[in-house]
Every structure is written in structure tokens, then in C-alpha cells.
Symmetry: C2
Subunit: 338 residues, 2 copies
DNA sequence: GTCTGGCATTGAAACGTTCCGATGCGCCAG
DNA sequence: CTGGCGCATCGGAACGTTTCAATGCCAGAC
């Protein structure tokens, strides 16, 4: 099963290889008579252009890569989706890769994509990665960091203002009347987590009667939320918080379920805010108040920024920061009612 | 910013290009002295091997592609994840692509992957696709169809026995005592949906006192489930079903939420079974009984089968069918209690 | 001292494509 | 009739890699 190449097509159609190439890339430049012969030959021989040959000659591909920690997380899936739609406007395909929060796999895919000479990379990561991206960029592959703001001016990035998001979540809890508030999340070394906590504690500082407790939950999954909630249930009632800000919706949903099962009335006794507004936040039996970071323009902004840096336009700013937005639902509205 | 190639590395290290290539591919064949020099040159020059050159020469790549309708669906994300893990055992990378249920995008990615000469393809689709895969295979790219059983003997496939799954769901509803049962799902043209319904109606036939109503819900999302449930709530109480089999968990969760909000007691008055056992089935406030199709061995089986057909081993069977498994939780257990 | 065998190294060919300068042909103007 | 122009087509070079036959070297055996 030898692969059929452009010269075989040319031979079969009785034309020169250059003409076949012309037919493929500048169809208007070739006479309709030969075009028909070539079309027929391609069909009968089952010719598929080799990307390797094309790319070798051209030096560039028409693919961009998106490396995300975990595609099963709806948050990244949505970004991927909108990136993909926008990229197809430019005629480029998107290959997705899953780093699964592992540094090695992140590096492995970085390497694979670089070897494939992708036009550009879009990277979401929980790990510090700017220095690695700088190395990749110095060898000719530009990238946009998504989800964490870049520290370097050179590194393009699209991010959410997580400090502001954390502040909004906390201000909301304070405004419905919570005073003994717990922040649930971790690890604190992750920038997103640290930022959300920073915003939260800013807000709480402005309300002297309020206290902020930090509960570390390294897992950030539904199961992690359940564990936290189980620990809270085992506390005496008067030591429990009356408001919880969970650093993402999965945690919040786990907490919600276990607290409700344990007899805590939400939102009357305890108000709960999540973060991300994932698909299931609204679908929970008690719809979850949350911070929505995603935005219709997110994927568009990411791809457009990537194309700007690919074409080396000197853009005004390589950083784009979106403000998140509070979505208030039943898990907080009605706090204090009885 | 000219790309640095293997000959520049060779010149810089004062060796021949062949030696550099040897260093990269058969490191034991090159003296440690030159190896050091080469290593240093690669480092200083920032050399990255071009996949295009390598692939052009070799004729094959070390990548496989996975095309799924929708990576944001946890069901496919989990398959991708396990496929990826198994593939890395073989030293190949997996590129993911999102067809988003569109035939054009499916075709586009099929073409892109074929042009990239991936070693093999893994494809999940809701659409009939066997003929297209046959064409791709005839040109040298093998594939494994995942999720729908292939009709052709030539086409490798790994699938779930959805007929059996539908039967199990229905038998479970019957065994807890339901008699007026509704099947919610659609479109019926999709094989998975049709199979689940077929199994369900097989089971119901064996219980003469039971009836099966089919409610078409083309959406198969949480929102779709809500719409169905809203319609049910507007019926007189004695015309409502006492058991519901939803064709996937998203539908079931939407139904669950709206019915509970509407005052229906689950599972006492109405038992509910979903399908897929996604992450949120267990996390729902009333944990959802469901059919678990996924299986630890699924991804492994897919990749192993793909490698078998890639190496053209004459395998005993190109089809692997997994039996799903009932996971009984609170949404059915306790039906009829008051 | 010479020959042989083994091993590290070399240089060139080949993979399939695109691009570019060259070729040939037909047509029109002079 | 001839010269020139435009346009379709052609043929070959180049992209970066791997492989393979050929080369050079050294050690050990005779």
C-alpha cells in the first residue's frame, strides 16, 4: 500500500507535477481541460496531499495547538470550543492536548507541538510556565497564555481578573448578611486560587464585623467539597461558618450536596458562592450563585491575539484582562430568612 | 529567525549530519565525546527536530487522532483521557479534535488528520460514518470506531451494548415496582438512542402490567430535561408516569431538578434512571441511578485494538463490545415508600 | 609488518511538496 | 511576414530528515 504522491497523479493525468500543485493551490491558473484530467486522476488514485511535504517546503503549518490541563473540565472545554470556532474563520485547525496537570505531559506536548511547527500555541496551565513558553517562543513558536496573566510583557496572555472575582464573591456574601465566612480552596500556590483569596480578603477587610477563615481543599473536585462539608458538619453548630466562598463550582457543588444532606438549610442558614458558572451550577437542585468568568468574546480574543503576535504586529498591549461577573442564584439569595 | 536544522548543528559541533541523526535516534552508536559536543550545540543553537522532515523521510508519524463530537461532554472526555494514557505507553501522542456534531467539521478533521499521516484514528460520532472511514482506510489510515458498533467486519470498533443497557435500566425500574414508564430521549435516528429504547421495550414486554411511553427530547441536555419535566408537571397527576428512563444523565438531571422543584417526591412517587454515570450523577442532591458504560479497560481496549489493526495483525475479532452495568442510587431505591 | 574485522563516522540520496525561472505556443500589432 | 507579449505549462531545486553504502581508523591476530 504505497502512498500515492503528486508525481504519480501528474503521470496519470499526463501533466507536470508543477501543474498539479498549481491545480491544488491556485486552481484558477490551470486550464479547465487539464483541471478535469487532474481531478479525475486524484479521484481514481485516492491521492491525499502529504502535509509533511507541504510543511517541509513551506516551513509553516496551518495548525494551532491548545494545551489544557483537563479537557473534561467544562471550563476548558468551552474555551477550546470557542477557540476552535474562531480559528476556523482563519482557516486553521486546532489540535487539543490534555496535560492532565502533569508537568511532564505538558512538556511532552509542548515539544510535540513545537516539532510539528504549529503556527502558534494556546496554553492553559495551573503551573508556572512562562519561562518554558519563553524558550519555545525564542525558537519561533508564539503562544498565548490563557487563564493566568503573564508577568512578562513579551508573553501574550488573556486572563480573568480573579482578584476582582474573589472580591465580588465576597462582597456578595457580605451584602446578603454573612459575617463568619469561609474560603474553601487550594493549593494556595496556584495563582488563580491565590488571586481569588486576595480579592476575598480585601473585601472582608472593609467589613470590620466579618471574619474570614481559610479551609484548604487541595482537590477542587466534588469529592473534595464533600470532604470539607463533612468536616464542617462535625463541628458544633456555633462554630460553623454562615457563608462559604468555594474557589470553584465543583467544590461548591460537593459542599452543597453534603451540607443539605446533613440538614443544613441553604441559603437560610448558610449562603454559598462558587466560581466558574459551569454547566451544573444552574442545574443543581439549589441553583448555585457563582462568578462567571467566561465570556462570549473570550475565545475570539484569544485567537485574535494569537494571530496578532504570530504576524508580529506590535500590538498596543499583549495582555487582555476580562472582568468576571457575579451570577446570583438561590444558594445565596434568601440568606437569613427563616 | 531562521529555523535551525540538523546540518547547522552538525557544522557547529564539527561532525557530519548523519552523526547528529544517529545521536538523536541511536544514541548508543555515537562516541561519548561527540555526543557531548552535539548535546552542547543543540543546546546553544536551540535546535528542535522538524517533524516534517522526519515524517517525510519515514512516511509515518507518532501521532494518533481522536475525533469526538464534543469534548465538553464528560463521557468523551473520559474516553480521551484513558486513550491518552494508554497511548503514551506506546510512545505516541494523541491529538484531540472537536467535530461539534457537524458533518463538515468531522470531514474537515478527517482530512486534516489524513494529510498529517497520523498512524491511526479513533472516532466517536453520532452520524453514520463507516463509509467515510472505509475510504480513509483504503488510503492507508486505519481507525477504530468508538461508541457505535461497526457493521462492516473490516471496520474495527469498540462499543457498548446499549440494547443490554436499556434493558437493565428498564428491568430495574420494573423491579422496584414502576408500571407506567416513560422513555425520554431522541432523536430516535441515533443508533445509541434507538438501541437503548429497543432494550427498554424488550424488558417492558415481559411485564404485561407495564406500559412504556416514549417522549421525544431531541436535545439531550439539562435544559431539554427541564422542558420535558415541565410538560409532565402540567399533566394531571394520574396521567404522569411513575418511572422515567432518560437516555442520558444530562436529561435525567434536568428532569430531576424540575420535578423536585415542582413538588414531586423522588423516588417515593417517581423513580428515575439515567445513562452514562457521569461525574454529576452521583453528585446530584438525590444521587441518580444510572447505567455505567465506561469501564477502566475501555481506553486500553480502544488503543490496543487500534495498534493491532495498525500492525495489520489478523485479530480474532475487530469488534469489542462491553456490557454496561447498573448503578443503583437514591433516585430509584425507595420507590413506593411513603 | 601486514592483514583482517569491527566500529565510529561520513556523505549523499531520497521522501513529497512548492516555487521560480524557463519554455513553448498562440495571437495581435505593425 | 515578423516581432513581441501574455499565458499555460514544464522541469528542477530546495526544504530537513533518515538511512545506507562507503570510508577511515584502530586493535588484535598472524
Amino acid at each position: 500500500m504505497a502512498r500515492v504522491g503528486i508525481r504519480e497523479v501528474a503521470a496519470h493525468a499526463g501533466v507536470a507535477v508543477g501543474t498539479v500543485s498549481h491545480y491544488l493551490n491556485h486552481p484558477d491558473k490551470v486550464s479547465s481541460e487539464k483541471a478535469d484530467r487532474i481531478r479525475a486522476s486524484i479521484e481514481t488514485l485516492g491521492f491525499v496531499p502529504s502535509n509533511a511535504g507541504r510543511q517541509l517546503r513551506l516551513g509553516i503549518s496551518t495548525v494551532i495547538g491548545y494545551i489544557a490541563p483537563d479537557v473534561s473540565n467544562p471550563y476548558f472545554a468551552e474555551i477550546a470550543e470557542s477557540v476552535e470556532r474562531r480559528a476556523s474563520d482563519f482557516g486553521v485547525s486546532v489540535f487539543l492536548a490534555n496535560s492532565h496537570r502533569s508537568r511532564e505531559r505538558e512538556d511532552a506536548y509542548l515539544r510535540v507541538f513545537e516539532q510539528h511547527q504549529v503556527r502558534g500555541l494556546i496554553v492553559s496551565s495551573h503551573l508556572p510556565i512562562e519561562d518554558r513558553l519563553a524558550a519555545v517562543r525564542s525558537r519561533g513558536t508564539p503562544s498565548v497564555l490563557v487563564g493566568q496573566a503573564a508577568r512578562s510583557h513579551e508573553q501574550a496572555s488573556v486572563s480573568l481578573d480573579d482578584v476582582d472575582g474573589g472580591r465580588q464573591a465576597m462582597e456578595h456574601l457580605l451584602s446578603v448578611g454573612c459575617r463568619r465566612i469561609a474560603f474553601v480552596g487550594g493549593p494556595l500556590g496556584i495563582p488563580q486560587v491565590a488571586d481569588r483569596l486576595a480579592g476575598a480578603s480585601d473585601a472582608v477587610r472593609e467589613e470590620p464585623a466579618a471574619t474570614l477563615e481559610v479551609i484548604n481543599a487541595p482537590d477542587r473536585t466534588i469529592r473534595g467539597g464533600r470532604d470539607v462539608a463533612a468536616a464542617l458538619l462535625s463541628r458544633p453548630v456555633d462554630l460553623r461558618p454562615d457563608g462559604i466562598f468555594a474557589v470553584n463550582d465543583l467544590l461548591a457543588l460537593g459542599i452543597l450536596q453534603t451540607l443539605v444532606a446533613g440538614g443544613v438549610r441553604i441559603p437560610e442558614e448558610l449562603a454559598l458562592v462558587g466560581y466558574d458558572d459551569n454547566e451544573f451550577a444552574e442545574a443543581s437542585i439549589i441553583p448555585l450563585s457563582t462568578i462567571r468568568g467566561r465570556h462570549e468574546g473570550f475565545g475570539v480574543a484569544v485567537v485574535d491575539l494569537l494571530f496578532d503576535v504570530m504576524e508580529d504586529k506590535t500590538v498596543a498591549s499583549r495582555h487582555r484582562v476580562f472582568k468576571p461577573e457575579l451570577v446570583a442564584r438561590a444558594s445565596t439569595l434568601g440568606f437569613g430568612a427563616r
